[in-house]
């Protein structure tokens, strides 16, 4: 297709008209603004309450700062998404996801409904509250350029098989953060299971149409990269679109059963509420 021939841009006015002619076009992967205009409003959610609606391209990334209490829904419509996630306290981004504490403190290696995504500061950044997949991973992190270069022969961020870390670098940079600020991440929708000898076995996808929902327990900077999992055994770079929605809600409080579901969770939420109240949030 000759793109050049489709455009008349020989003067400023013609170039302006040519650019404006794109208004109203849609693509498979795009943010929907306002969020209430999303073609994929989650069931049971009032479109007027939506604050983020987007379909992230395979090999794409996105990022947003969310208010405390926001619900964040990630959908995997095709069963091929892999949502690599980093979260930070948006007010003090030195407080960030700590994967080791996220596993150690709940005494559980696998992310599931009820798992708190903990910072290294003894607080809950986000709570995983709903999960219809159960196939996730907190061991392997995301891909590096070195990994994708060796596996696919190409890891250019602008190429056909970008690494998750390259995308996180860009997303973080847009919030003034650098590669120094990228700790280990977690990923949703492609599972890993640990064998008795430590072998990291591939569980893969739970199939199309699964979802997870998180609650932002503090003002939350969210970085998402939608790239093939590092242990995906398929030789080709396979990843599907990732759907993202967020809507207003309340942070976890004493009335929620999860607030004191375990002694560790109770103290984690107490610490989080303590911080929020001291800051006047």
């Amino acid at each position: 297709m000759n793109v050049r021939a489709e455009h008349r841009t020989d003067s400023v006015l013609n170039a302006r008209d040519d650019a404006r002619a794109q208004t109203g076009l849609n693509s498979e992967w795009m943010p929907y603004l306002p969020a209430s205009s999303s073609p994929f409003v989650p069931a049971g959610v009032d479109p007027a309450g939506l604050t983020w609606a987007e379909t992230v391209a395979p090999g794409g990334y996105t990022h947003k700062v969310l208010a405390r209490g926001t619900r964040l829904r990630l959908d995997d419509p095709t069963g091929q998404a892999c949502a690599h996630l980093l979260v930070y306290n948006a007010l003090e981004p030195v407080e960030r996801l700590n994967v080791a504490d996220t596993l150690k403190i709940p005494w559980q290696a696998y992310l599931r409904a009820g798992t708190p995504l903990l910072s290294g500061d003894g607080r809950v950044l986000a709570s995983l509250v709903e999960d219809t997949s159960g196939h996730h991973d907190a061991f392997c992190g995301t891909t590096t350029e070195a990994w994708n270069e060796s596996k696919y022969g190409d890891a250019r961020p602008e190429g056909p098989s970008p690494a998750g870390r390259s995308l996180f670098v860009k997303a973080a940079a847009k919030h003034g953060l650098t590669r120094r600020d990228l700790p280990p991440s977690v990923s949703f929708f492609q599972g890993i299971r640990v064998a008795a000898d430590g072998d990291l076995g591939w569980l893969g996808s739970a199939g199309p149409g699964t979802q997870v929902t998180l609650v932002a327990e503090l003002p939350l900077l969210v970085l998402l990269a939608n790239v093939a999992h590092p242990r995906d055994p398929r030789p080709e770079y396979v990843v599907g679109p990732l759907r993202v929605h967020a809507w207003r809600g309340e942070a976890t409080g004493p009335a929620d059963p999860r607030f004191d579901a375990t002694p560790e969770l109770n103290r984690a939420y107490l610490n989080t509420v303590d911080y929020a109240e001291a800051r006047g949030l």
Binding site: L103, K104, G122, P184, V194, G198
Partner: protein, 218 residues
Amino acid sequence: MTVLEWSESLVGGAAIKDERVAPNASWSGVVAAGEVLTIVDVGGNQSADCLIYNAHDPDERYSVPDTLAWQGNAYVRAGTVLRSNEGRPLMTVVANEIDRQDTIGGACGKESNTLRYGHHVMFHHGCRENFLSEGAKHGLGVRDLVSNLNWFMNVPVEPDGALGIVDGMSGPGKRVAVRAEMDVLVVVSNCPQMNNPCNDFNPTPLRMIVVQPGGVRP
């Protein structure tokens, strides 16, 4: 009665560095490419929490997920290549005297201790505090704390995903040796935790020995 066994380097060579780390204290040192660091668990089952940085560009640092994903296994053993967040080899485990070493249990800290045990232990010392004070000597701060290694600590993952720190598999004088694949800064916290078996509820010293294998001191 605590038995202390100070041992010797696991690898022969010209001595570069030989230092003792007191219980509860921190340590750091640069290990040049090719040199081998032996860590001695002098009193037995004493967790040596450990972070590693590219000595010339500390933005490149030890990465648990890269180390695990690259080898396809959750445990650290002889042969494990300790990789950076860019996927590059920082160090390689060249000899190891216990069944497996941990890198999924992370570090203790004053704040996370409140979740694990209660606010009554908030005043206890923790590895995060050691990492911060030792790292500050090298211009490192809280942004540079990532998931770490725990030499001589035992964290099994059970079939249902149950995971936690249990009684150790080490003993007095047991060692691990790691060879630097580039010039690295190694930061260690001699774990002061008094609420779990990561140090057998009895903090003991560590010995850090660096040698240039088969060569003379440069």
